[in-house]
Amino acid sequence: MKILLSCSGGMSSSLIATGLEKEGKKRGQDVIVKATGTENVADDLSADQYDVVLLAPQAVYRKQAVADEAKDHNIKFVMIPRTMYNPLAAGKLLDLVNEELKK
């Protein structure tokens, strides 16, 4: 599974990305996460094939724009709930992503 994870500048999302990848490894699930800033989402989606776009809660003001980009590329969009945006909650977040992808 290939995830594009966007926060405002791409800094904190890289921490969450590492958490998700570790969690995936633990479960034997192939998870690749790229962390990025919101202004690069469109370019990232055009450059590479992803299964889902996640958006960090502090960048909620970009929700519509990022959701639209995901729709244009025909992939899932998930707004990360506030309680799941920390390295300790990587398990919960991966569960949520898996569930959303099944829908």
Binding site: C7, S8, G9, M11, S12, L15, T38, E39, A42, A56, P57, Q58, A59, V60, Y61, R62, K63, Q64, A65, R82, T83, M84, Y85, N86, P87, L88, A89
Partner: protein, 437 residues
Amino acid sequence: MKFNSEKIANGMASLAGNRYFTAIRDGMSVIIPVSIVSSFFTLVAQLPTLIPALKPALTPYLADLTIPVTFSIGLMALFSCYAIAASLAKTYKLDRNSTSTIATMVFLLLAIKPGTITPQMAKTTGIAAGTVFPAQNFGAYGLFTAMVVAILSVEVIRFFKKHNLVIKMPDVIPPAVLNAFTSLIPAAVLIIVAWFIRVGLNFDFNAFLMQLLSPLAYFGKDNLISVLVPIFFNSLFWMFGIHGAITSTPVVPYWYAHLNANMAAIAHGATAATVPHFMTEQFLQFFVYIGGSGSILALCILLAFMSKSKTGKAMGAVVLVPSIFNINEPIIFGLPIVLNPYFAVPFILAPMADGIITWAATVMGLLNKTTSMVPWPLPAPIGAFLATGYDWRAIIVTLINIAVSALIYFPFFKMWDKHQVKIEAETAAEEAQAAKA
């Protein structure tokens, strides 16, 4: 009246998510890398503060060392205008290159008035005869014009495209050429109007805008209010889980103007102690937002070393290192700080206290002013030391600020930790009960 946090958060999100605010913020971020790199030249110019023996060797090169600053922060309005227009054009799916180029030209027409050096003047000034551009409005002084022009130009181009007021070309033309022609009519309108305002009416749009926004300048000046107001709003937005930096957008041009003036003063032989301005983004970054907004490193330290609860210990282990590098999202959402009644008060008070301490130290002459732009992920004591032109007292002030913030956070942290211990004990008891049954 019922307190509806979700509603407030949504309101704040839509304010922060305003298309123009975001375009301005994204656009202005293009100058960060070039400004940081250029700042290292100012750091070299200030090496004699650290090693006095270097003074005779470096003094002749002071002016040369600031050339990169002139071409980075000194041209920031030009760079920002192009990049803001590009960001906004991207959200409207307009061609970025042609749109930005037009916007930049409109900015130049409105903000810069070319002068002429005659052959006689050339003899006295030493500047070659020809057309010259005064430099001031290319930098922070032209920044508001750059923002307004970038947004207006993109809107005009969008309007023309939307109403199909464009020159139609056959499909066989390559897209790049096609884009140039699509922009032809709006470009003509924008350039003629801008030219008419500047030359026909002899109207100084840049001066007018500065005058119009002068009340705002109050929050960008070197006074205590300009320290406290941005901190308050920054913390308030983060309390609702929304990136707080966006709230400073309107005063950022003043902070850059200050930093630019400080760097220019260094070029003329001033030191970080004698430069004119203290209120810069670097001041907030390294003395106030230590560990991230809310001066949160202090709380991370408390969590890591003083927690009695399991939650506190686990959280402390995860958030401490990111916070040393000024990344605060893990604790903001992990603890959480967001909408947490335990931490609302210290999250606002601690950075304000740090702001007051640093302000006081600066006005009493106990601390150098910031003269370089150093990368924000640097740990606060190192960042503060570099940004103030190697002032060792900056390290002391950051350490004092961390201690004061820790004192402010402490009682609230204690209450929270006690509460966590209680919850953990209750859960353990319930689980034991369940296991028995």
